[in-house]
């Protein structure tokens, strides 16, 4: 990673109050309360259909809640919030560079810098169709980072990648997060990924917050360590336990 000494905007504070969302009479989110400190990395885990993606989309403003509210930042101007989707969602008819510069005015230089930070500057003029799945997600990451987000929302962005690429991406995300200090909320079904990246792991089951666990491990985290393994097993047991009782 190139060392960068740039000053980045501080991470945003996130406050979710009794957030409720229903689809066709089914309650997906049931009065969820959540406070996330500036610069914190929070992972949300849970079985599929538990409402974790809906929570993230509600925070991003892509879903309108039926009750409750989402507050980002401490008043004043609205903090930059960016979302990374499970599929990279690159526009196939724009080059890699044009994709990163989407929504920027005269942003070619900043887009180049963002591409450099994810190691893909040499692919700037290629079409997205020519990239691998992992490279596409790196471009999507660059597209989010070019806006210098104060809150980065990640909706299972690594879910479709192979194991090795996933580890590389986790390291990249951790490095960029450490350097820039944005607040991050990662939705994932991979408990190990949550333990690798997060300061705090939240478990959502049946639309409610069922577990809020601090991860006290020093970074970078060694997957092979006893503490790591123990913690991962704990969370996994907790997730599976809900499965058996359900």
């Amino acid at each position: 990673m190139p060392k960068d000494n740039q000053d980045y905007r501080a991470g945003a504070h996130l406050d979710v109050r009794s957030l409720t969302k229903r689809y066709a009479g089914r309650t997906v989110l049931d009065a969820v309360n959540l406070r996330i400190e500036p610069g914190e990395f929070v992972a949300v885990v849970g079985r599929s259909g538990c409402g974790k993606s809906t929570l993230l989309r509600a925070i991003a403003g892509l879903e309108l809640p039926d009750a409750g509210q989402v507050k980002i930042g401490g008043g004043g101007q609205k903090p930059e919030t960016r979302m990374m989707f499970q599929d990279a969602r690159l526009l196939p008819w724009k080059t890699v560079l044009q994709n990163v510069a989407l929504g920027l005015k005269d942003g070619a230089e900043r887009a180049r810098a963002a591409l450099r930070s994810v190691g893909l500057l040499d692919r700037a003029d290629d079409w997205p169709a020519a990239l691998s799945g992992g490279q596409r997600q790196r471009v999507a990451l660059a597209r989010a980072l070019v806006h210098e987000p104060q809150l980065l929302l990640l909706d299972e962005p690594l879910g479709a990648l192979d194991a090795l690429t996933r580890i590389e991406m986790q390291q990249l995300i951790e490095t960029l997060w450490t350097a820039r200090g944005f607040t991050a909320v990662l939705v994932t079904h991979d408990v190990q990924e949550a333990v690798v990246l997060a300061d705090r792991i939240l478990l959502i089951e049946q639309g409610r917050l069922a577990l809020d666990l601090d991860v006290g491990l020093a970074r970078p985290r060694a997957r092979g360590s006893v503490e790591f393994g123990g913690l991962e097993q704990n969370v996994l047991d907790r997730v599976l336990q809900t499965h058996q009782s359900a």
Binding site: M83, L102, G103, W127
Partner: protein, 258 residues
């Protein structure tokens, strides 16, 4: 030699052997008197008729008239189809109001309107323009409408969350997303416009390839008739090549079109 893999030369020449043999056989049967020139003139006579018409300038006059008709009819029909397709694709309200009507009218074959068209417009240029543009309108409309509707909703959501809206969203996401489908409509219409033109020019015309052909038939000039048939084929092929060129130019990003 016998077991060698087919060389590049062989693969370049081989597809043309059968057409060449047919042409030679045709020429030979004409010379031997097995084929009457009233049924089919010899290939050399067709080539000679082509040359004569080109030299006298008659060919170019007719060609220009036909090309102009096709271009005007296609331009008018495609522009209207594109405009209405974009409108109905983008606005649910417009689609609810208009799409059912269009779908009903679509089932009337353009050529079935010929008697009415002659009553309305007589037999001059307006009638031909009407027929061509009605025929071209529907494929362009349908494919534009379908293309806009089937743009990936995920991409639109992403673009909105990156601050694109209004015209920027339309230009950067919706139109390029619909373009493959729109170009399918354009290509289909370019094929259709020649078929309609042939019929329209055969009904009545004072110039054009169809007029040239019908005129030649009255004088039993089968060679000129064949020149007309070949011209239509060449024009159709040229239109198809142009459409494919458009696809290759505008859909460069799609590996399927490279």
């Amino acid at each position: 030699m016998a077991n060698a893999a087919p060389s590049a030369n062989w693969r370049a020449i081989a597809p043309w052997i059968v057409p060449l043999l047919i042409l030679l056989g045709w020429e030979a049967s004409s010379r031997a008197g097995w084929l009457s020139t009233r049924i089919l003139p010899e290939p050399l006579a067709v080539a000679k008729a082509f040359g004569d018409l080109a030299v006298s300038g008659e060919l170019w006059t007719h060609l220009r008239v036909s090309l102009w008709r096709a271009a005007a009819g296609f331009g008018l029909g495609a522009a209207l189809g594109l405009a209405l397709g974009l409108l109905n694709g983008s606005s649910r309200r417009a689609a609810t109001l208009l799409d059912t009507t269009v779908q009903m009218v679509r089932n009337i074959p353009a050529l079935a309107l010929i008697p009415l068209v002659i009553l309305w417009f007589g037999i001059d240029e307006a009638a031909k323009l009407f027929l061509l543009s009605v025929g071209v309108f529907f494929p362009v409309y349908l494919n534009t409408f379908h293309g806009i509707r089937s743009v990936d909703a995920g991409l639109i959501e992403m673009a909105r969350s990156y601050g694109l809206s209004g015209w920027a969203l339309y230009r950067d996401v919706i139109l390029p997303g619909a373009l493959p489908s729109i170009l399918v409509g354009v290509r289909f219409s370019l094929g259709l416009v020649w078929v309609l033109l042939i019929v329209a020019e055969t009904i009545s015309a004072q110039a054009g390839i169809g007029y040239m052909t019908m005129n030649a038939r009255e004088f039993l000039q089968t060679d000129v008739v064949l020149v007309g048939v070949l011209l239509y084929a060449l024009l159709g092929k040229a239109a198809d090549l142009a459409a494919r060129g458009l696809e290759r130019r505008f859909l460069r990003w799609n590996p399927a079109y490279r």
